[in-house]
Structures are given as C-alpha cells and as structure tokens.
C-alpha cells in the first residue's frame, strides 16, 4: 500500500481563495490493476483558471491541476516505469490511475525530451501555458511582421511568452503589467519594446505615445477596465485573442467589473475578438512544444519560473499567483 497526500476542495472560494478553503488529507492508494500506473508528482502547476474552474465541482473533490510526474510502477505498456508524464492528475503527491480514463482538461502524455531544459517547463512554457501562448496568439491574432501587439498580464506565464513570440515574428510589442520590477523585466530582459505599469501610468496616454495609430493585435489576459482602454486603441481589422479574465476570476458573475458596452468599438474598427481554451489545440500539441523548445535552445525565448518548494505550500502558491506575486510561470516542486 502506498500513502499519498492530496488537497481537497473543502470550502467554496469567495473572492481570493483562503488557506482554509483547502484540506490536506492522506489516502491509501490501491494496488495497480491492469492498465494502471502509479505516479509521483515532480512539479505541480498553479494556474489562474483554477480559481474559476473549481466552481463547477462539488466540495470534497481533489483540487484540479496539472503536474509533471514520474511513473513509479506500471501495468500499462504505453506508460512504462520511469517515464515522465504530464497531465491533469490533480493536487496529489502520488496517483494510481489508468491514463485512458483521464479525458478531461489535459489527458496524460509522455513528455517529449526537453534536453537540458528543466522538467518543470512541462507544466509551463513547454506545456499548457506554452501552447496557450503559442497557438492562442498565432492562430487567433494572426500576427504579421511589423504589426503592433499589446499584451496584458504581460509578466505572467502566458503573457511573457506571447510578447517574446511576437518579437520573434518581428512585431512591435507593448506589455501591460502591475509593477515596476515586472515592467523592467519585460523591457530589459525579455525584449518587449515598451511596458506600461498600469498601477502608476495611464494606459491610454502610454498607448497614444507608443502606438499612435493603434495596435493590430491585443492578447487579453485580464478583461475589465484595462481591456476596455486597450480596445479603444486597436485599429481597423484588429484581432483580439481573449485568453484570460483576471479582473473577474475572483468574483461572482454579478460583481464582474462593468465596462462600456464593446459593440460600438468593435464595429467602428471592425475588430474580431475571440475567446479560447487550450483544449482546442490538443490535436497539434507537440508541434507547439517543439517550436517553443527550439526557440529556447536558440536563446530566442527566455523564461522565468516562480518555484515554491513543498507540496504543502500549494494553496499559498495559488493565492500568491492570483495576487500577481509571481513573475513568469508559478510552479510547486514536490520532490
């Protein structure tokens, strides 16, 4: 018998999650049946979507989440012992399951070789957030060389990749972030052309300065007031990829920030605005990872992770990330 730890969703989130909303429990894992594997979490992901996604589940379920894990025992030839896998196994240190039975969110897959790059990237820049950035930007914004791209939540896991991908595609990139440190990282270290600190600067004034004729693409991680301002600075036939809505994730629907109705601006500038989830990109998952990995190896794509040590600290890591304390991808190291 194998003892595992897991976090249970024990109290409904209200506003920002609290440590008391989670319960750490131990459970005995069953013996492996045919087709099943036993895995041990190496790195676990904390992501903005967790805040909203859990609202769909009853209390008492294991917290949802992706992890990079090692296969400790296997009765499934497709997932042999010692292989490294990635998938939505939840907030647990060890798991026993048949990979075929996990069809929701991110079905388990063997992580392609990452060479010298850290394994934690498999839940980050070379995993779900990476492909969210890669396909969510390229497929939906359809950026062209020389165009102007605005990214909100620019210092986050996805935003920081989108800006760098835009630079690789020879666009001009303006990032919006929430601290001077983050803005400095964007412009000094990962090549954004400009960064706007929305807490101390006027987004409208800065966009007038950096993009006087408007932006061609907007990669939206936040919604709310910030996006309303950016939308007024998107030009004719602009494309908006709607990836996140941090401004409303922590709030019940009737408290979402209110903004002037968008239609007028969408019509005048003939803007197309598209929301997406990464699941639509699963059929070409490894294509995205391969390209991003190549860019990293070529030094074109930099990454930063905020790694919290210890499985027990997962709730705090999620809370910190939702408060914007991370730069780059937030990950928890189990062992």
């Amino acid at each position: 018998m194998f003892k595992a730890k897991k976090f249970v969703y024990s109290k409904r989130f209200e506003g920002l999650p609290k440590l008391t909303d989670f319960e750490l429990v131990e459970e005995e894992l069953p013996e492996l049946q045919d087709g099943e594997i036993l895995t041990e979490a190496l790195y676990l992901s904390v992501d903005p979507h967790m805040r909203t996604y859990m609202a769909r589940f009853p209390l008492g379920v294991t917290m949802l989440g992706d992890q990079v894990a090692r296969v400790l025992e296997s009765k499934n030839p497709a997932f042999p012992k010692d292989s490294i896998i990635c998938g939505t196994l939840g907030w647990r240190t060890h798991s026993v399951f048949n990979p075929r039975d996990i069809t929701d969110w991110l079905p388990p897959y063997i992580v392609p070789s990452l060479g010298d790059l850290p394994l934690s990237l498999a839940v980050g820049q070379l995993g779900m957030p990476g492909n969210t950035a890669y396909f969510g930007f390229i497929d939906i914004c359809q950026p062209k060389k020389g165009e102007i791209v605005v990214v909100s939540g620019a210092a986050g896991a996805v935003g920081s990749l989108v800006g760098q991908i835009a630079k690789i595609l020879e666009c001009k990139v303006i990032g919006i972030a929430g601290s001077a440190d983050k803005c400095e990282w964007l412009t000094k270290e990962i090549g954004f052309d400009h960064a706007i600190n929305y807490k101390t600067e006027s987004i409208a004034d800065e966009l007038k300065k950096f993009a006087p004729d408007g932006a061609d693409c907007y990669f939206d991680n936040v919604g709310g007031e910030t996006s309303s301002i950016v939308l007024r600075h998107v030009r004719l036939f602009g494309r908006v990829s709607v990836c996140g809505s941090v401004s409303s994730y922590n709030l019940p629907m009737d408290e979402w920030p209110k903004v002037p109705t968008y239609q007028h601006i969408l019509i005048t500038s003939q803007i197309s605005m598209q929301g997406f989830l990464f699941t639509r990109f699963l059929p070409k998952w490894f294509e995205g990872i391969a390209q991003m990995k190549l860019w990293m190896e070529q030094g074109k794509l930099k990454y930063r992770q905020t790694i919290t040590e210890g499985f027990e600290n997962m709730p705090q890591a999620l809370i910190d990330m939702l408060e914007g304390k991370n730069t780059g991808k937030a990950v928890v190291k189990n062992c």
Copy 2:
C-alpha cells in the same frame, strides 16, 4: 440652373436627434462639367449609423446618406440619362457630381434590374442593409443547417432579413424586438420560430425555454444589456456578428451602457465576436443583391418598408427610426 433642396447638419446631436438639429436649405446647382451627372432623388435612406457617423463631420455639411436616384442629365457615358443609380449622395433632392469623385461609404453604382420589385429596395433589402444582413450574417456567423440563431433588433431592416436568411439556411431563429406587434410580425409573417419582446419578457427566461443548450450564432444589432444576456446563452464555439449598437448610438462614449466585462464568457464558451462595416463587402456587392433578389422572387424572403412621404420629413423619419417606430427598412420617398 437647377434648384436643389438639401438638409444641412446644423447642430450637434445630443442624445436623440431633434428637428432643430437639421436645416433645410436651397442651393443652385452648377452646370454639368465633363464626367458629371445631374440626379434626382427617388428614395432616400435613413439608417441607424447616421446618428454616430455625423459626429465625425463639422457642422454645416450636408447630411450623409444613401439614395436611389434617376439620372436627369449626363456628361458621363458610364451613367447615361435615365439610369437608376444608388450611392451616398447625401440628404439632397438633386445633385451634380462626378460619380468617380464619391469614394466614401457607398460609391455610386447603377442599380441592377429589380424586375417587379420596388426601386426603394435599392437602399434597403437589395442594397446596403441587404448586403449588411447577407454577408454580415453568412460570412461572419458561418451558420450551419440546424443551428440556433438569435437576432436582436430583429424587426429592423437588417435584423428581419438576417432571421429570414437563417430560416432559408434551415436554422432555428429567435428574434428579440421591442413590441408585441413586431414580435407578431416576426413569427406570424416572416417565419421566425420565436420572438421575445424585451420590453415585457425576460430575455434570459425565454432563451432558456427556446434554446436550452444555447445558441450557435448571435447577430447583434443593439449591444448593451440585451447582448450581455444573450452572450451568456451562446454555446461552445458560438459566433457573434456585431452589426449595430443601438444601445449606445445616441450617447457620448462616457454614457454608453455599462455591462459586465465579456472576457469570462468569451473564454468559457470559446466565442468569437466580430464587428464589421458593410464596406468590407463591396468587392462582392452584386453577388449579395442577386441572391437576395432571387429569394424574394421565389417568395422565400419577405420585406417590409416604413415609407415616409416627402423630402422635408427626412429628419422626422430618422428620429422615428432611431426610436424604433419603423418595422423593416425606413425610407423617405422624394418623388
């Protein structure tokens, strides 16, 4: 010398336009130069966009608008005497101009034969509003047989066509309109499956009843609260064509209706929302008119016009239309 009457934009619109915002003036038209034609307005269009579009122009200009006109004299072989043309000639009874010089909005063209159909349709169902409905729905919503289509402003010139086109394409159609008469017209006369009177019924409740699994397409003429409700009832991979924003046309930007930020819903249901102006469809203008005309001749497409007699009544006709007093296309008959 030929005397023409025209309406000048003499006072900035505030809220709903007032009769005193327009000035009726007479002007002597010049002799024809080479390439020019003299036209007489037959039918003039009043359209929702006039309310906002004029804000871009200085006071003193002739009111912008499309008309169907007869060529009375011609020094341009491409537009011979007695031909019937359509184009943005403004609110004037007679005009002298070189068609080549009118490049904004709707450049003048000779109206294709409408057979037994009334000429007024050339500024309506077989003109700009017609193609707005035809391409704005088909190109942007990409409707498929069996899908559910919601149309707001459903009894208006464009909305009433969109619903009928959707029926021809074998979709299920739900219209939203502002009176019992309009709703009855939609369902009893032009084939909508359901109509919701937003002034007396709950849009959310009715959508739950008529589209329990959500709508596939939403053709948005209004924005504001109505559209916020409809968006929550659009299902996975839904397409929203943003054609109009009647809820904000009469208001300055800082008074546009405030709605909960859309991003959350756009992401969850992976909705694509696209604003457009008819000008993008000019390259295939006559294709749209030909198809709509064919459908009319086959009895598949019905139309209704609200025709106001007398050029002098143009301001009132515009005001009435903005107040939703028309059913189908609002047109003014000059002679």
